[in-house]
Amino acid sequence: MSNYQLVVVGAGPGGYAAAFAAADLGMNVAIIDPEEKLGGVCLLRGCIPSKALLHVAKLVGEAKHSAAWGVAFEAPKVDVDKLRAFKDSVVGKMTGGLAQLAKQRKVTHIRGMASFVDAKTLSVELVAGPSTGSGQGGKEEVTFDHCIIATGSRPAQIPGFPTDSPRVMDSTGGLDLPDVPKTLLVVGGGYIGLELGTVYAALGTKVTVVEMTSGLLPGADRDLVTFLSRRLETTMHKIFVNTKVTEMKDTGSGVFVKMEGEGLADADKNQTFDRVLVAVGRRPNSAVPGLDKTKVKVEKGFINVDHTLRTDEPSIYAIGDVVGEPMLAHKASHEARVAVEAIAGHKVAFEPQAIPGVVFTDPEVAWAGLTEAEAQKQGRKVEIAKFPWAALGRAVAIDRPDGMTKLIIDPATERILGVGIVGSGAGELIAEGVLAIEMAALATDLKLSIHPHPTLSETLMEAAEVYFGQSTHVYRPKRK
């Protein structure tokens, strides 16, 4: 039996960041994960592979678009195997890098499934394979001074829908890119469904999106989503909101789907698709075996933690998707550092003022801090300043005027409380918004910071100018 100062359960962007940070602080660290490679969902079948595919989708979209500029390309010929290989090579490079980093930091990767024996001991069901010590499988017990649970989340399933049909995929199956189906139904108009739907649509699939609530990307500000919806209407085959899938079955040659909702034509109500992608959210993996032998508490599916990410069991911490929304990799890796520093005895707390969210569709939608919708819900008085990209030189030059940058501002202090952006590359631009919020920047600070011309980043500065009724490129006198 080996003892470690820190054992991390789960090797996703939370888990490996925690393991590396702890090793950097001089701890003796093990990381337990059944996968051969470190990286978790994010690297193996989430953020990174989807971005590789979305990059290709963007290229296809632009190649098509360029006909309008006098440069026409032939319709793309898609070699799915080669595309998949490119995506896999991206994953391979990144996980290879992680393996190298783990080795340099002397982090032990124990390949297996962990269960708690008590508050100081884990039992690991080893996976037979090359990176297992013996290569034989079997069991190993490890003891720890501290443990960090970073077991992440898994795609949610809809009860009653086929789970064994290869034609009904979750995000993992979708990213495997088995083929380019002629027709695809995406169940769920959230970010995962829309990102993957975008990929398949670019590859030539007729994609239908069905969303149960009244709009795509529930939770995001409607004025941002409008820009995305408008474009998706041209790239997707059909989008149904306020619509539910009531039945789904694999017919052997396709998936038969029954839908119910307002304004649905009869032909739409009963259809057969080549494939279906179910993307209706994610569920935390909080059912770690043996947790009942510790004081760790699970509430509404999430592990209960305090502001230092410590669970009700003093020796055990938890981070990432398993402790709560938003289930985002960058939240997990930030929490990882906080938890490790807390374990090392530093006085730290998880206290971000902005956790950015990005939807990598085309256009991208991104936000950070307070949203307008949330402010309304709280009944909090805010002022909104919006800058339409159509007024910006760079946006027009790249023929992407379909964007908007908005600021949510505290009227009393003029502090930036939230930033929302929709448009090409919004995901990159939002980082400035995060910094502004965290640094307690005032609208004046954004306005007075010189932004490079001609870039899309100017929209943040101009939005701040709009707040003061001083935008160069938008005439909108301040309302008072």
């Binding site: 971000p352 339409p388 159509a390 009393a412 409380l417 307690a440 005032l442």
Partner: protein, 483 residues
Amino acid sequence: MSDFVLPELGENVEKGDITRVLVNVGDVIANDQPVVELETDKATVEVPSTVSGKVTAIKVKPGDKVKVGQALFSFEAGAAAAAPAPAAAAVDKAPAASPAKETEQTPASTSTPSDLATAAVDKKSADVVDISTGRATPAARPESAPPATSGTPAASASTPAAALAVAPSPAGAIPAAPSVRRFARELGVDIADVAGSGPGGRIGAEDVKVHVKSIVVSPRGGAGGRTAHAPLPDFSKWGAVDVKPMSNIRRKTAEHLAVAWQAPHVTQFDKADITALEAFRKSHGPRVEKAGGKLTVTAILIKICAAAIQRFPQFASSVDTANESIVYKKYVHIGIAVDTPNGLLVPVIRDADKKTITEIAVELGQISQKARDKKLSLEEMSGGVFSISNLGGIGGTAFTPIVNQPEVAILGVSRGAIEPVWNPSTALGAGPSTALGAGGQFVPREMLPLSLSYDHRVIDGADAARFIRFVAEALETPLSMYI
């Protein structure tokens, strides 16, 4: 009932997506009032109404696609409703601007942008007062405003300028960078307690240091004696205890008095014969009562102290240590300590020198009631130059009040009692013959004990003795004030 249709928006814009509906059924809308927000290919625009009347039904919702000419809502034209303006009147030439704003003539739209910015700043720097707690948060930069120099002398329940933030920060969003928040945490400081000196109340690392310094340097612990003390023993070892958080007033009183206590204090005692005054109070009481007041000793003392201050102006001064000067106030506002169920409050009677005793009595009754009802504004608790604390209603023979900084003197009043007073000039033979001389005797007189605490930096002992004598004699023989 008619329908309001989406007017032409100009520049070949024929359709758009409703992003927000700005009116509700039942709303009475005016011409030019924005009714929906529309996202067009070119921009987001607020569509102004070209009609006025009452909205009876709304026909669109956010997310709907609408075309020019499509009905947005139904309305009943009010009696005063103008004839619907031609739709073209609402056309906005600037694609990105809201039409509503072009037609609105608000003051702001005519002022320059810098005016607007200034106005916003002025609004922010105005004192923020929480009436229910009497807690004030002036926008002064903390370290540049030591209590002795602050323009408005703080009432004992209001916050000394030294412990203040610029503006209340929104809950959960302390305006401090992550590095500063972490720095505060490392020092064991709650970042929410730190006053930010930057724009928008932003807290810098320097502010955290100043905050820590204020806690460590102040012998009483700058914040209500919280920090610099040895840790308390575990009282529950010896019996049951009950721990309650300090109320806002209690905390502010603790902070203020801990600072006030640091002035070099002396207390001068005296007694005034109020036998005649009591008779006067009885005979004149009903008259004052008719005016709505009560002829109390306190009301009379306010008037007398106002006269005393005019005779001895150093009793209405303040020490400005930073500028090595003494500020003499030419107004006579007198603070009265009021015992309320929520703690000590000190409302101020303004221009006591210019008011009759009746006026003072009426005002005192009102302001004391307000104090007990928690309705005092900061304004009503600030500006005092001298304070009076009368505990006579409860009892006691003497006490040493603490000067209410930045004032320099306070008069304490204890309970009046009948005492034997030697009167050398009473009728011969009536009393025993003693060494004091023949012919005198003890007579029962009602004596009122007075305690005058003063800041010895500006007031000399002899002046204090003269001041308290002046007050005592005025109580005994009111005409003496005018001699």
